[in-house]
């Protein structure tokens, strides 16, 4: 099969799996609705927290509240989309521990597609809606022009963020083939990562900045592309071209994480029964 045919087959399989998972969740409509509300409320508290912290951090003089809201909104949408699309790979550890990953491996569909499509978290719609609301309001107030350049950069920022978060999700899920209990570390990296990306990079201490810019490149999810959109100077001396590098960075880290995932699948040893 050509790469293109393979991708389109995977995409179709993913769509069918998602459809099934949505239908399954629709059986419990009320509970789904409650979860959406809860997800919305949870991200809203995060936002308030960011604002409160912001209020108390004088070193953020360079950033206005509405700019921080812009950053928060962009990273929240990117993260929410990613979480909804492939968040169910968090289940990897449990599937490995119980041996249910066997069934995933018996299908004529890639393991990643199979797991990612297995349990789409519809409840995340709540969180995404909240982040989108913040983002729309902040964009309107932050004083940017909605020309082609900025719209393209915004789209690139959000989907680049989605892909980078996806790489983090994937890598942390892959670890669980070796360390079944690593779920908590995974959560710390994914949800914690989202929390970090809500802040402008300069608030962090030196080593964490470098980690986020060059190692686990979460700075590319929102901060760096936002500098380009908001036309802000960077006080950290990060090379200017990196503001536009998030698609490339996203592609690299995603492929690396996928390679790591494949290695994990090969390492899978099922369970005795």
């Amino acid at each position: 099969m050509s790469v293109q045919a393979e991708v389109s087959a995977s995409w179709r399989a993913y769509r069918h799996l998602i459809g099934a998972s949505v239908r399954a969740q629709m059986q419990f409509r009320t509970s789904l609705f409650m979860q959406m509300v809860a997800s919305c409320a949870l991200t809203a508290t995060n936002f308030i927290e960011v604002l409160v912290i912001f209020d108390h951090l004088p070193m953020l003089g360079n950033w206005s509240a509405v700019e921080v809201a812009f950053l928060y909104g962009a990273s929240g949408i990117g993260f929410g989309l990613c979480d909804m699309a492939i968040g169910s790979i968090e289940r990897t550890g449990e599937l490995v521990r119980t041996g249910k990953f066997d069934s995933i491996m018996l299908r004529p569909v890639g393991t990643l597609v199979s797991i990612a499509g297995s349990d789409m978290a519809l409840r995340r719609v709540g969180g995404i809606a909240q982040a989108a609301l913040v983002f729309v309001v902040a964009s309107a107030r932050v004083g940017i022009e909605f020309n082609v350049r900025n719209v393209v950069l915004i789209v690139v920022m959000i989907f680049g963020g989605t892909a980078i978060f996806a790489a983090v999700f994937l890598a942390t899920a892959a670890i669980q083939f070796w360390m079944v209990g690593a779920n908590e570390i995974g959560n710390a990296l994914t949800y914690g990562g989202n929390y970090l990306t809500s802040f402008p990079l300069p608030v962090f201490s030196g080593w964490l900045r470098r980690l986020l810019a060059y190692v686990v490149p979460l700075a590319f999810c929102a901060y760096l592309p936002a500098l380009a959109i908001l036309n802000k100077p960077d006080e950290l001396g990060i090379p200017a071209f990196l503001r536009y590098a998030s698609p490339a960075v996203a592609a690299i880290v995603f492929l690396a994480a996928y390679g790591f995932w494949r290695l994990g699948v090969r390492h899978y040893r099922s369970t005795g029964s």
Partner: protein, 318 residues
């Protein structure tokens, strides 16, 4: 042509045993050791062994779930762990203790989803589905969510799910485990028909020897990871349990029959049990001999049951 072939297949598991709070000892457990066999197209082979013998591990290697540590294998022309996705279209797999269905969806929706995942042509899918639904009597539960099915119903659903894409090989790992007598019989009949009508190759793993007796002419016995017997069911009996028993109902009660080369092991009124070696007498010869000394009203021949034969093999091994 051989559909399944293995040479020197070996799989080790590293297990850590915790002794104390932090200390743990590393132990290598060999689940499958140097297993070689082949299965021809259209054969139905029983893969038998006690718990922990290595049956499931073998099946997992053959279906591409596990990578073997040594040895080679091919299934339907593919090396399983290298060509897992292509292989998946050509095999059907049922693990008695796992599910390939969607828990919260009605059974029919699982089937429909599988059609899309396997990209099976609509007509072929419908034909296969109709056939399975009819033979496995699933009509009434098609709209029931899988989580509400009984074990027997779910197992029949799993079988259907494994067959919808028309696989050439079927791997069944303990498909009758936990089923009641009726469900067991339904599954067995279905498998027998499938093998006969479609020439589907079947590797049936079980520790229920009734399954084997009903379905398989050939038998592989595995113990402690090694194949210790590969041959016909009848040959196995001949080799390990050559004695059969003739049960005769005589017209009159009397003293035990004394026939040269046969041992009268039990007498109950007019009924007597004669144990004889299959090399010494054929059944009809012995019946004639009995007929010469007494008048027979009725008779049956008891073959040794396979359970005791296999038990004998296991104990001989250890």
């Amino acid at each position: 042509m051989n559909v399944v072939e293995t040479h020197g297949l070996t799989k080790n598991f590293v297990v850590y045993e915790r002794n104390g709070l932090i200390r743990r000892t590393r132990e290598v457990r060999t689940a499958v050791a140097d297993v070689s066999f082949s299965v021809a197209a259209g054969e139905m082979v029983g893969y038998v062994g006690p718990n922990g013998a290595g049956k499931s591990t073998t099946v997992k290697i053959l279906t591409g779930i596990l990578v073997p540590d040594a040895g080679t294998c091919s299934v339907a022309g593919f090396v399983p762990h290298k060509r897992r996705l292509e292989l998946a279209r050509r095999i059907g797999v049922v693990f008695g203790q796992r599910s390939n269905l969607w828990w919260d969806l009605p059974l029919i929706e699982s089937f429909d989803l599988l059609r899309h995942l396997y990209r099976v042509d609509h007509q072929k899918h419908q034909a296969n589905l109709d056939e399975c639904v009819e033979r496995l009597a699933l009509e009434d539960v098609l709209k029931t969510p899988v989580r509400q099915l009984s074990l027997g119903q779910r197992m029949r659903g799993e079988l259907t799910a494994a067959l919808l894409h028309g696989p050439t090989v079927l791997f069944l790992d303990e498909p009758t485990i936990g089923l009641d007598v009726v469900s067991k019989a339904a599954v067995r009949d279905f498998l027998a028909d499938l093998n006969r009508d479609r020439n589907t190759t079947v590797l049936l793993t079980t520790h229920d020897l009734d399954d084997i007796e009903r379905l398989c002419k050939r038998l592989l016995i595995i113990d402690h990871g090694t194949v210790i017997y590969d041959g016909g069911l009848n040959e196995l009996r001949d080799e390990y349990e050559p004695y059969r028993t003739l049960v005769v109902d005589l017209v009159t009660s009397g003293s035990p029959l004394a026939i040269d080369g046969a041992e009268t092991v039990k007498v109950d009124g007019p009924r007597q049990w004669l144990r004889f070696h299959r090399d010494r007498y054929s059944a009809s010869e012995l019946i004639n001999r009995v007929g010469e000394v007494a008048e027979i009203r009725d008779l049956t021949i008891e073959e040794p049951d396979i359970e005791s034969v296999v038990a004998k093999i296991y104990t001989r091994q250890t």
